[in-house]
Amino acid sequence: MSNPGHIVTSYEQELNQLRGLMARMGGLVESQTAHAIQAILEHNPEAAQMAMEQDPEVDALEREVEARAIKMLALRAPMAQDLREIVSALKVTSDLERIGDYAANVAKRSLRLGTAGADISLGGLRNMGRLVQEGLRLAIDALGQNDKDKALDVWRSDKAVDEIYTAMFRELVTYMMEDPRNIGACTHLLFIAKNLERIGDHATNIAERVHYAVTGEMLPPARPRGGFTPEATP
């Protein structure tokens, strides 16, 4: 932060600890998401296990962040950007926790899916996974660096995830109509795609909160369309 230091140095330390915890939580859910996506794309049960095993730690971190933030609000009565940052931390931590839940759910479904969907093309899911991971990384970077420009980048790029989700939905429904034996696998894949799309939404929420914490201005409820959204990149 570019603020001049706080008079009470332990306050500064508390803020830094809070930021450290958020970064740690961010790193965990990023890795959970990466494992979950690996679990589906490579039919890798070990990766699925890892994603699920990280969930309790994320939950514990959420409780800790919450407790610390509430304590700081009560004892330090922060103002202006500090107040916004701490209140945003409370909200961001629950976004991160939800992302962790969705990732764990994707991992669980990948286990149930097993190799049932082996002949269904996972290209769309691979693309979507990359986009979601990229958005999540940028959102957590923006959070760690209080960077409003990065936050705006995330906010603008969510459209690509939505589009690819719609394309996948259509494709999976076609598979189901072609051969009813695909219905089981395709239903799991549909939920997996939906969960990834939700992860993207929560990453966008985080970006919105970072923008608010830094500038004090809420982003408009409707996201812009067009412009340079990463069109199904990597």
Binding site: G124, E163, G227, A232, T233, P234
Partner: protein, 387 residues
């Protein structure tokens, strides 16, 4: 050794494993100027050494962490290796856990992978200064992305090649059998079949070329290009190279380059390949005479990433692409439909474009309206001044 001590450096900065980390003595008093044999006495008028300066001189990527795990300094090699992925590395659970464990030991080494923006595999060796209250940790990074990429590539190549080569190979075998058997004496059929066989064989050769080229690009995707490319000459060169193809298709190409564009941070050959592939597609999928425009302009504020950029675009007035195909066009072997282009293409052109753009830290955008045309644009970062 005495040289280090003279400038106030402790052992903590020395990657010297012979010296146990516990052995912590205060810096020796400056030795007499004549003591290091063969070294001139230090010149007091020269600037002193600092930790960042010394680390920057190291050819090896190193990150120094201060107490609280804040970055004290990432040297030039580390910045070149990681780019803006440094925060993502520092919050990686594997590294965080290793840092937690460091309390008990001063040496630790972990392997970790990061998926985005491009896949990186790193081995991080951690060395901690164990003096109370020091909190100094050195992370020494080695890049293992290429080894990892080679492993993955082999698997990918086998899967893609076996799958995509099977169809043309099967038809080739079928024609050969026909020529050996029923059509052995049928001259007109032989001419026709040989032409088809030639086309199929050429397609297989193209496919293998493209797969290899894609593999090569992916292998170096984690390394940002260090070239500097002015847009105008590149666009003109690519446009000239497509002259014969344009004439054969009856299409026209207009080149529109804005004035005063800064050079792009790019690899000139790869960028030329991007434009080649995009122009190829525009000519091929327009199905008949089309008006194609190759354009370079400065990126508008708010339309792309926040830093400065140049947008290169190829637009045509061909039949366009249905919206449901747009998000998936850059997947390998994805074909929007069975038009004439689909049979001759390798299905890898846009995948190659995507990976090159990814390596450059750029953005790719495809917009299309059925019946009106398609516009593919690539946002690329400009080369900052003085680099």
């Amino acid at each position: 050794m005495s040289l280090w001590r003279r400038h106030g450096f402790g052992n903590a900065l020395l990657p010297d494993r012979r010296r146990p980390a516990r052995d912590w003595s205060p810096p020796d008093p400056p030795p007499p100027a004549s003591s290091p044999p063969g070294l001139p006495p230090p010149d007091p008028s020269l600037p002193g050494w600092s930790l960042p300066l010394l680390l920057d001189l190291l050819p090896h990527p190193v990150v120094a962490l201060a107490p609280g795990r804040l970055v004290r300094h990432a040297n030039g090699a580390a910045q070149a290796l990681l780019g803006d992925a440094l925060p993502a590395l520092l919050r990686h659970p594997i590294l965080v856990q290793a840092l937690d464990r460091l309390d008990g030991a001063s040496v630790e080494s972990v392997d970790l992978a990061m998926d985005v923006p491009v896949r990186r595999v790193l081995r991080v060796a951690l060395r901690a200064d164990r003096r109370a209250g020091s909190g100094l940790v050195l992370l020494s990074l080695s890049d293992r992305t290429e080894q990892d990429a080679v492993e993955r590539m082999r698997a990918d190549f086998v899967a893609n090649a076996s799958h995509e080569l099977r169809t043309p190979l099967a038809s080739l075998i079928g024609f050969i059998e026909t020529l050996q058997g029923p059509a052995a004496d049928d001259a007109p059929a032989r001419v026709r079949f040989l032409a088809i066989m030639e086309a199929q064989a050429a397609r297989m050769a193209r496919l293998i070329d493209n797969l290899l080229s894609l593999s090569r690009i992916q292998m170096h995707e984690h390394r940002r290009p260090d070239g500097s490319v002015p847009p105008a000459p590149l666009l003109r060169r690519v446009a000239d190279a497509h002259e014969p193809q344009l004439r054969a298709a009856g299409s026209t190409l207009a080149v529109d380059i804005a004035d005063g564009l800064p050079p792009m941070a790019a690899d000139p050959d790869q960028l030329a390949q991007v434009l080649h592939n995009l122009l190829d597609n525009a000519i091929k999928y327009a199905r008949g005479p089309a008006r194609i425009v190759l354009r370079a302009e400065a990126a508008q504020a708010g339309s792309g990433p926040s830093q400065g950029g140049v947008v290169l675009s190829v637009s045509d007035d061909g039949p366009g692409i249905a919206p449901q195909h747009l998000p998936r066009l850059t997947e390998r072997f994805y074909r929007a439909d069975d038009g004439p282009g689909a049979r001759t293409g390798s299905g890898l052109g846009l995948a190659i474009v995507k990976h090159i753009v990814g390596r450059h830290g750029g953005r790719l955008s495809i917009e299309s309206t059925p019946g009106q045309g398609t516009c593919v644009s690539v946002w690329l970062p400009v080369r900052p001044h003085g680099t």
